[in-house]
Symmetry: C2
Subunit: 214 residues, 2 copies
DNA sequence: TAGATTGTTAATCGATTAACAATC
DNA sequence: TAGATTGTTAATCGATTAACAATC
């Protein structure tokens, strides 16, 4: 398994995008698509699409193109949407609650099993059938329930300590919403979501455009 | 202005990251830093740091390095944190409210001036001094208040129409939280935030790691 | 001055695009 | 079969890294 050629991050990041476009095609009732047609829809080259897909296998057929449903399912498998991950949310503030309510994640195999906070006013409250629990009970919960992923929505200053704590308890994936590049010495997969970075890039690009217009 | 060499998206996306690290250094009371030292902190090469910074000017000094406060301010200027943008949030569901409460954005010059929704139960409610208004009153509000940026937190199916509507009214930047690649025929800057894409990449990487471990 | 470190050019690496033989 | 379109190799392009003269 580990002998296979390494797939670049650039390709991996495009997979969910392919998955979305194929889902749209499926909804539109389109059963087959060529890399050329998909290319014009997605605004990337047909070459890139064929290269990307061929990292994982030959899903198409010469002279025909790709069967939409088949390709959709194959990319779904590659992304592991059929695997189930047990997820907890740490920090039930605005962002934590917003994510807890975002039921779409369940469709992709991310099963929310617990929410934790320190605020006594929040503890006991329910979000979509899940009770917000005290942070004190988290360690035990993680061990007993074999949690795969922790979504970190705690304040900036507490993030590194909490990350370390859950990683030591065996959590294998972290989805971090604090504006810091979380890194851990352990074998843990971390995805950093930097909303303020994204907004600042928007601001930069906006300024550039306005400058040029002047 | 438009004659200057084009700066690549790769560089632009790193700017907020530099800004964060410099902010940390400042907080730690560190007054000067070499590209080498910054490189080891950030986990990128010193070469890249010097190349990136030199896209915008020579901020350092041979034999000395960079003055942290000066560089922080310069990058802040490049990112336009001193410019003020008028922002509205469209859709006051979970994500909209979470973003409305995230007061950190104000620090970077993004001033929330309005929140809009269609839900009568939400209209009239206040979030941080801003009243949630009816979507019906949005067009007028945008024109009267010269809104720069709209944050789109509306359901998937309504996103393209709302985006088009605000773009026609002169909104120049869109921060889109719907899981679609929003594109518009107008001269509008769009930043797509694809939370579910990010989560699926985490899932993929997690699966890969678990496969190799077996 | 000597040492350190930048700014910048040149070399390398990796990712994207083009081309085309294979084949449905 | 003829036309279409893939899978894949080769060419190009752009981004990263290395090297080093300039200079504080």
């Amino acid at each position: 398994m580990s002998l296979e050629k390494k797939i670049s991050m650039a390709v991996i990041k495009r997979l969910p995008r392919y998955y979305r476009y194929l889902s749209d095609l499926l909804r539109l009732g389109i059963t087959r698509i060529s890399s050329k047609e998909l290319s014009s829809r997605m605004g990337i080259t047909a070459s890139q699409i064929r290269q990307d897909l061929n990292c994982f296998g030959g899903f198409g057929q010469q002279g025909y193109g790709y069967n939409v449903e088949y390709l959709y399912n194959e990319i779904g498998n590659i992304l592991g949407v059929n695997e189930t991950f047990k997820v907890i949310i740490i920090g039930a503030g605005n962002m934590g609650q917003a994510l807890a309510n975002y039921s779409n994640f369940e469709k992709r195999g991310f099963k929310l099993t617990g929410i934790f906070d320190v605020n006594p006013e929040l503890i006991g409250k329910r979000i979509r059938d899940i009770e917000i629990m005290s942070l004190d009970s988290m360690d035990r919960f993680i061990m007993e329930n074999r949690v795969d992923i922790a979504i970190l929505c705690v304040p900036y200053e507490h993030t590194p300590a909490i990350a370390d704590r859950v990683a030591c308890l065996g959590v294998k994936g972290l989805w971090n919403f604090s504006p810091m590049d979380l890194k851990l010495p352990y074998d843990v997969i971390i995805e950093n979501v930097h909303l303020s970075d994204s907004l600042m890039v928007l601001g930069y690009r906006l300024n550039e455009m306005l400058k040029i217009e002047k």
